[in-house]
Amino acid sequence: MGKLVKYRLNGREVEAEEGRLVIDAAKDAGVEIAHYCYHPALGNPGNCRLCVVEVAGAPKPMPSCRLPVKEGLDVRTDTDAVKRAQAGVLELHLVNHPLDCPVCDQSGECGLQDYYMKVGRYPSRAREDKEHKGKRIEAGPHVMLDQERCILCTRCTRFVDQVTKTHELGIFSRGHQERVEVAPGMTLDNAYSGNVVDICPVGALTDRDFRYKVRVWYLDHADSICPGCSRGCGISVHTSTKRPWHNEGRRVARLKPRWSEVNGHWMCDDGRYGFANLDTDRLGKVLRLRPERVELSWVDMAEELAGRLDGVKVVASGMLSNEDWAAFKALFVDTLTVQDLYFSAEPDQIGAEDDLLRKKEKVPNLKGAEALGLKSGSFDRLAEDLEAGKVRCLYVIERDLAKVWGEARARALLTQVPLLVFQGPNKGALGDLAHYRLPATAYVEEEGCFTNFEGNRRPYRKALEPIGCARPDWEIFKLLQEARS
């Protein structure tokens, strides 16, 4: 932290760090200044000219994103001159804008709409024809580009230059014909491409996954943590439940990164688009499938099953929250004294890693198990034991063994097990093999806490109601444990 100095903001004396940009310092002091091009993680090119303020002694309005705080600086954001300048610049931003809000996905969260209402409100005087550019350009697998809506703030090109360093986007041509374009021979397919949609202040870059699914004003939001890897990025889960016929019936409409010290402003595409199967193949009933299919109540299930768990071997995964792990330990380790736990990340949960955000383990919370002193055995060893018929009872929690061993082999191994229990949100490829099938909540339907690879606690909130009678894993463990005692 640098030296604190005093400056004046709208006549009020305010303290701020010397050299901090006025746009940031004003925000700290509760004064939001309209802007497009400035982004705290992408710099201040000062090209949108919207964030102008009046500075005592300066002959013309100054862009606050390029103005460092110094002792005695006298800044005003509320004068007529500032308002006129902002409205004038906004009018110029909009003079070639197609104004296709009714069919634009950004409507409702668009910088042009918001600032028009806040600092614009001028009568339209543009009579000339608008400049025409590309309207539906598939920039990459996840991103659609509309050059006509673009205000050329360069946030997206700075993102691919500075953050991913992949340079797929550039500013081409000049003057009013200038446009953002995908560089020749490239596609916007880097592992973080979805972020350009978030940072685009207008509807120029929209999400191909989200486009036309649901209007943003029907969405609800909950703070959550991405379960896609051990980084534990802060995310916001945007859900669509008010109009269930929208969004093709999916309850989660999209995931957006949420600023945190762990992930900054970004999230990866794996995490962002990894929710596609959240509502498919879901379990909602407590079932005993063998010898015949019977629906049970939670209590009856616990009464029946608790007594049969001696000698159980347990497969789990890093999808469990810290709360789940604690109840898991209490049940299996402390009560049933199980030695054989298998939860390590196998090839089914190992993936790409990079030096930006993505981590190799594609589950969020192996660290939580480690913190409780739990140790995972080898899946190869488990397979051998299954093959040798040594396993009397196998309890599988939130893990699809078809992805560990291959479906045919997994099916062959599990068919021999005298008592097989499946617990989790999804049925998976082998769900029909279970004797008991217990529906657990997905991470968006519960609240809890992960511990990321660095050991940071990553609490997440509930975004949706559980499906059917699904319960959090820890509740199920607790039920069984109570039934044992």
Partner: protein, 407 residues
């Protein structure tokens, strides 16, 4: 009439080293090298030499802001701006073609003053001939041993007007899109490749050998109070004898017009653009304005780079404004919004007026759009976009009203 740069321009082979040396060439550099860096800068400050590329910033003062070696260790550069693109300006074209060694010598003096060992001459892409001439001259200077202390390289522009602006020029040289930077920091502190760089115009550096040989006081005495020496005008438009003319700073507009043979065909003068198309015009009543940086400024316009365009009574102010705005809209780099969008908008409104489809509310609207651009942009091009139409509207309202009433 005192001439400095064009004094020997009648000499047929002035572009060759031998002729240039016979007429006193490279003595200025010799003199400069015998002086300390600080003394060279002091002499130039004394001369009141100001940047003749258009900005009119005191040249010695500019060099002084280059941080000393101990504060900023590492290379520093000299860039000679020969990206002459302003409509109406063609004096650098002639200065380079006739006296390339005068430019090279001047650049080497700048290099000594700021302790640079690399100098670049950035030549407008269309100036192929000038490029070839400079190439030959640099080769000659190299064989004669003048480039031992400081090397010199040529670079060519790719056709963008805005590259003529110092910071956009540096971006271009670095291989980037010609988008002006936003000082601070100024190029003398963070310039080419992030290093301190003196960017000086061809005409400015050409003055330096003469200042070194004859002294700053001599130079200052020739010109106006705060603008030393001479200025080279390139005169075009409705005059009898268009061409390149050198006058002492502070010369009256009337004298310059007379030297160029007066308005063509004896017609009445409508206006004179003093510094290149992007400067507001002077009119009949301004004929006694002193043409130096401050005199022209006081008359509400700019000396610019001396690209004087004379327009007679047959010119239509709307057509003139449209022509210039069309150029600016075409050349707007597109970095900042007011210029990018405002230039094209202004051009289109003016185009509609020209097509006879104007309406009375177009006039307050272009006035308003202009106000919304000037002072809210990154560079001078943008400021100009908002100024030009308003200037012609203010000086020739009847031309505009006639057009606006048509619709």
């Amino acid at each position: 009439m005192t001439k400095i740069l064009t004094k020997h321009f009648d000499e047929p082979k002035l572009h060759e080293l031998e002729t240039y040396r016979r007429l006193g060439g490279y003595q200025g550099l010799e003199k400069a090298l015998s002086m300390s860096r600080k003394d060279v800068t002091e002499e130039v400050k004394k001369s009141n030499l100001r940047g003749l590329g258009g900005a009119g910033f005191p040249t010695g003062g500019k060099w002084e802001t280059v941080p000393p070696e101990e504060k900023s260790p590492g290379p520093r550069y000299v860039v000679v701006n020969c990206d002459e693109s302003e409509p109406g300006c063609f004096k650098d074209r002639v200065l380079v073609a006739r006296a390339p060694h005068q430019v090279i010598e001047g650049a080497l003096i700048v290099a000594h003053a700021i302790d640079a060992h690399d100098a670049f001459i950035f030549v407008r892409g269309e100036y192929q001939n000038q490029y070839d001439i400079l190439e030959d001259a640099i080769r000659e200077a190299e064989s004669a041993g003048y480039l031992k202390r400081c090397g010199m390289k040529l670079m060519r522009g790719a056709g963008a007007y805005i590259s003529g602006l110092d910071t956009a020029l540096l971006e271009t040289m670095e291989g980037k899109k010609a988008w002006p930077r936003q000082p601070p920091p100024f190029p003398t502190v963070v310039g080419l490749m992030g290093r301190p760089t003196a960017v000086n115009n061809v005409e400015t550096v050409s003055m330096l050998p003469h200042i070194m040989v004859n002294g700053g006081d001599w130079f200052a005495k020739i010109g106006a109070p705060k603008s030393g020496g001479t200025v080279v005008f390139s005169i075009s438009g409705h005059v009898e004898k268009p061409g390149v003319y050198e006058f002492p700073m502070g010369v009256k507009l009337r004298e310059v017009l007379a030297a160029a043979g007066g308005v063509k065909g004896g017609r009445k003068l409508k206006c004179v653009i003093p510094g290149g198309a992007s400067m507001p015009p002077l009119v009949e009543k301004d004929l006694d304005v002193a043409l130096d940086f401050d005199g022209v400024r006081a008359a509400g316009t700019f000396l610019g780079a001396g690209g004087m365009i004379v327009l007679d009574e047959t010119a239509d102010a709307v057509a003139v404004a449209h022509n210039i705005e069309r150029f600016l809209a075409h050349e707007s780099c597109g970095q900042c919004t007011p210029c990018r969008e405002g230039s094209a908008w202004t051009e289109r409104i003016l185009g509609r007026l020209l097509d006879g489809k104007g309406t009375p509310d177009d006039l307050p609207n272009i006035q308003r759009v202009g106000e919304n651009i000037t002072g809210k942009v990154i560079c001078a091009l943008g400021d100009t976009v908002g100024v030009i139409t308003r200037a012609y509207l203010a000086k020739f309202p009847e031309d505009f009203k006639k057009r606006a009433a048509n619709g």
